[in-house]
Amino acid sequence: MTSEQLAWKICRHDVEMTHVSGGSHIGAVLSVADIMGVLYADVLHFRPEEPKWDGRDRFVLSKGHAGGALYAALAEQGFFPVEELLTYYRNESRLSGHVSHKVPGVDVSTGSLGHGLGMAVGMAIAAKQDKKTHRVFVVLGDGECNEGSVWEAAQAAVNYQLDNLVAIVDHNHMQSLDFCERTLSSAPMARKWAGFGWNVMEVDGHDHAALRAAMTSSRQGIPTVIVAHTIKGHRIPFMEQDILWHYRFPHTGWEYDCAVNALHGCKPAGAEDPYTPNGIESPVLPDENADIFRDHTMGATYEPAWFRLQEVTK
């Protein structure tokens, strides 16, 4: 499977998974889908039939709320049946909303932000001590970089010269209530990491060739961070950069129908849709009352007197 096919399938599975379960974070999944697609199609070494294979590259999805993307990638790569994806969020399922290490192929449970990089640092240290050659990859959110523990770990990774560690920041500029810049700004993101001593690469986080090149490069003696510029809600225009879709799921009706058809509009050749093979023929369309293309950010209605909100850089 190509990375493009895998990334698309992650999006399609997750629209279905959130639609069926009422689960959150479809916007975050769409943002990180290309990163996950490239990692699991082209970059990471693993053996689906032997999930704990010691030679595998380690992967930590520190932004655990995008767990649906990881589950879909693992299922597509054969760690567990694709059919299981629709148990997401359900009673008796293994697939909790945030990433669980009880799922085959998952090394680390996450869900509370700011933990993953530290754990990845520990894994990379252990690999160095034991002279193992696998690499450790960790994906963080940009909002997650609000957490001070991220920067504790960032110092440690440089201190221990962890050139076997690659952090990828899914830099979609949005978090929970608003744009990052209007919440607790981490700008300038790349310069912050550079200031901490990391090897910094900036790429378009939806450009697979660029991601692949960045993920397979390294600099001796220092850890690498890839600041991946992404669009929250990517591939589904009415979800793009609308914070509503951080939590909202595609409901039955125009939301689901239009989401599916948006994906079919950009479906790479060879990618099959197990749910709606040809898209939806007569989709329900949004009427004038549909909650669409409105500004749902906190900053739209929040006007403090004593300080000015930062400018948004999209």
Partner: protein, 305 residues
């Protein structure tokens, strides 16, 4: 106790290259023998307890047995969620060492009083909680936690503790250790306040009462069998801990007694009320809360009338 614990960990580490010690930038004058002997099994994580704990979990997931080391509340409260999610939930072999439980760093102020640690750690599923009384118990705990799967918390005294016994024949996680059997009253104690409990026992003996005296180097899992056996044997159980009265040994014993319908009376001795604003050393601060040997003996005599 502290030095004995670290010496034991060092000896164990020499036999096991996967045993690792990480300090949160503390241990001046204590850890030097370790980093000199085993530099490749030692890290200073800096003043960054959250990352120290996440890192320890990551290393443990790769097969290491990791000790994290700091003082007071820093290795626990500062990084509680890392202990919960990264260590305990993953069943990671991380042993969290706190030097200076209770008022050990009394004069330094309330930031350095570890007086809720046992309660907080005890509340976390899949975390075992230890508070040895002296260097002999501390050495036994060090050996035990290395072989005990999952996450452990070990609260240590700073040194100079009274010995409960010269040797321990058989140490088992989750088992209390009798110092002496007695009648009418049993004193249960955990951690280095043992010296005060022993003093109280001696004073009671002078008054014609021989109390039972038991140390609880493991606070969790609690030796419930011992609690129930003592409930049958004694009229009164007194718990003694240099810890807030809420959630520590006394609470754990109360839970067992309440569910066993034993009818035995329980007196919990520990720290009560608001945060301690007084300045003073460990002995002085113990005195403010009725935790010296003399005060405890007096209180127990009153309870027995």
């Amino acid at each position: 106790m502290r030095d004995g614990f670290i010496r034991t960990v060092l000896e164990l580490a020499k036999e096991n290259k996967d045993l690792e010690l990480i300090t949160g930038d503390l241990g001046f004058g204590v850890l030097k023998p370790f980093w000199e002997a085993l530099p490749d099994q030692f890290l200073n994580a800096g003043i960054a307890e959250q990352n120290m704990t996440s890192m320890a979990a990551g290393m443990a997931l790769e097969g290491k047995t990791v000790f994290t080391y700091s003082i007071g509340n820093f290795p626990t409260l500062r990084c509680l969620e890392q202990i919960r999610n990264d260590c305990a939930y993953h069943g990671a072999n991380v042993n969290i060492v706190c030097v200076g439980g209770g008022f050990a760093y009394g004069s330094l102020g309330v930031s350095h009083h570890a007086t809720e640690d046992l309660a907080v750690m005890r509340a976390l599923p899949d975390v075992a909680v230890f508070a040895p009384a002296d260097r002999v118990e501390a050495a036994a705990v060090a050996k035990a936690v290395v072989n005990y799967p999952g996450t452990c918390y070990i609260r240590l005294g700073r040194g100079g503790e009274k010995l409960a016994r010269e040797t321990i024949d058989h140490f088992e996680v989750g088992k209390a250790l009798p110092v002496q059997e007695g009648s009418r009253v049993a004193i249960f104690t955990t951690g280095d306040i043992y010296g005060e409990a022993a003093a109280a026992a001696s004073l009671l003996f002078q008054q014609g009462i021989k109390p039972g005296l038991y140390t609880f180097p493991t606070v969790k899992p609690l030796d419930e069998e011992m609690v129930r056996a003592c409930a049958r044997r004694y009229d009164l159980i007194v718990t003694c801990e240099e810890h807030n009265i809420l959630g520590g040994l006394g609470s754990a014993v109360a839970e067992v007694l309440a569910e066993s319908a034993a009818g035995t009376r329980l007196v919990r001795l520990g720290i009560t009320g608001s945060y301690c604003t007084a300045v003073g050393d460990q002995k002085y601060l113990r005195g403010l809360y009725g935790l010296t040997g003399e005060q405890m003996a007096e209180r127990i005599l009153k309870e027995l009338v």
